[in-house]
């Protein structure tokens, strides 16, 4: 029974991740884009799928990856996510520098740009906090609340960013992926009771 459940969970996750990437990789828009622009767009799609893995790993929800092992993988996926976001922005910059500069300066005509830039800075901040956690000697409470707050902005920002864009992603697979990201993030927040840290007095 346990193995059936494992197969179902991993199978569903594979579908949720592979389908949006495959649809984006076969978008008719690609015919009119340069390789750099195509890579930049796909890096964004891959980044969205990595965002889905993060709460699953940290919550230990994936069969075969209970919390300690899941947490270790969470760090690697986090590094991959930062890399994907960096490639996404760098590729877009090469494709059309003024559009990316507008976005970074929050003067873009497209509303989704601001959400994307907010998600980018908060994912960089969440990853930096994780990388410098020991060196900064962060109190566990400060670390967890900080990382959680930043990550909530990352999730919200990247979901709104993705939904508002008319790009290579298929509408249905994009909405499903975004809904899964939101659902799993809310579940892990509830399960790990992060907010309890706000109420608890300092020890």
């Amino acid at each position: 029974m346990a193995s059936t459940r494992a197969v179902l969970i991993w199978g569903a996750l594979a579908v949720a991740v592979i389908v949006p990437v495959a649809i984006a990789a076969h978008s008719p828009l690609l015919a009119w884009r340069s390789p750099v622009y195509i890579a930049a767009g796909l890096a964004g799609v891959v980044a969205m799928t990595l965002v889905l893995f993060q709460p699953l790993l940290v919550g230990g929800y994936l069969p075969g990856l209970p919390r300690p092992r899941g947490r270790r993988l969470h760090r690697w996926v986090g590094a991959a996510l930062v890399t994907a976001v960096a490639l996404h922005v760098a590729g877009l910059w090469l494709t059309s520098p003024p559009d990316v500069i507008d976005a970074l300066l929050f003067v873009s005509p497209t509303p989704f740009s601001a959400w994307g830039v907010i998600a980018m800075w908060t994912v960089f901040a969440a990853a930096s906090l994780a990388a410098l956690r020991r060196r900064l000697r962060l109190r566990p409470r400060v670390w967890r609340l900080g990382h959680t707050a930043l990550v909530m902005v990352v999730v919200l920002g990247s979901v709104v960013h993705a939904l508002l864009i008319e790009g290579t992603m298929g509408t249905v697979s994009k909405v499903v992926l975004c809904a899964l990201i939101l659902a799993v993030t809310v579940k892990v927040l509830l399960d790990l009771r992060t907010w309890a840290l706000l109420a608890r007095s300092w020890r």
Partner: protein, 165 residues
């Protein structure tokens, strides 16, 4: 001998005249005086992105199939402006915005209208949109960036009201 008391027709006529006077007075309060005239079109955010000054006047950009249309009028009196050069560029089925062959220009006719055939615009940077520029000496420069309501549209229009320089 004329009748002193008001007839129904006279009453209606007077009433209508009074209403008309009031309406005129009210509209004078609501609508700015005609002499104030037509306000100039402001440049849009991102309108100047990937602009290449001095696009050549062309019969059409690339293979065509998509129409960019619009009008050019003078601020103030709204007079149509003839022979004004409008530069147009977009991400299309034939090239990126930055590619020189994605750029072209056309001139307005006697009614101040312009119309340039170009390749189909496709969504780029998240929206199907075009770019237009007025960038010559006689009037102040204006950059527009209209967005297509649907990426299946085969035309897009943009109107300029130019402020004399």
């Amino acid at each position: 001998m004329t009748r002193e008391h008001a007839t129904r027709r006279a009453f209606l006529a007077t009433g209508a005249a009074a209403v008309a006077t009031l309406a005129t007075a009210a509209s004078g309060l609501l609508v700015p005086a005609r002499a104030q005239g037509l306000a100039p079109t402001p440049s849009m955010r991102g309108g100047a992105n990937n602009y290449l000054p001095g696009a050549p006047i062309v019969e059409r950009i690339g293979g065509g199939g998509f129409w960019m249309t619009g009008s050019v009028r003078r601020a103030g009196d709204g007079a149509p402006l003839q022979g004004v050069r409008i530069q147009i560029w977009a991400h299309t089925t034939e090239g990126h915005e930055r590619d020189p062959h994605s750029h072209g220009a056309t001139l307005t006719d006697a009614q101040g209208r312009f119309r340039l055939e170009m390749p189909q615009i496709v969504p780029a940077f998240g929206q199907p949109h075009g770019h237009l520029a007025y960038d010559d000496a006689a009037f102040e420069t204006v950059f527009l960036r209209p967005v297509m309501p649907s990426s299946r549209d085969t035309s897009l229009s943009a109107d300029f009201v130019l402020q004399p320089a």
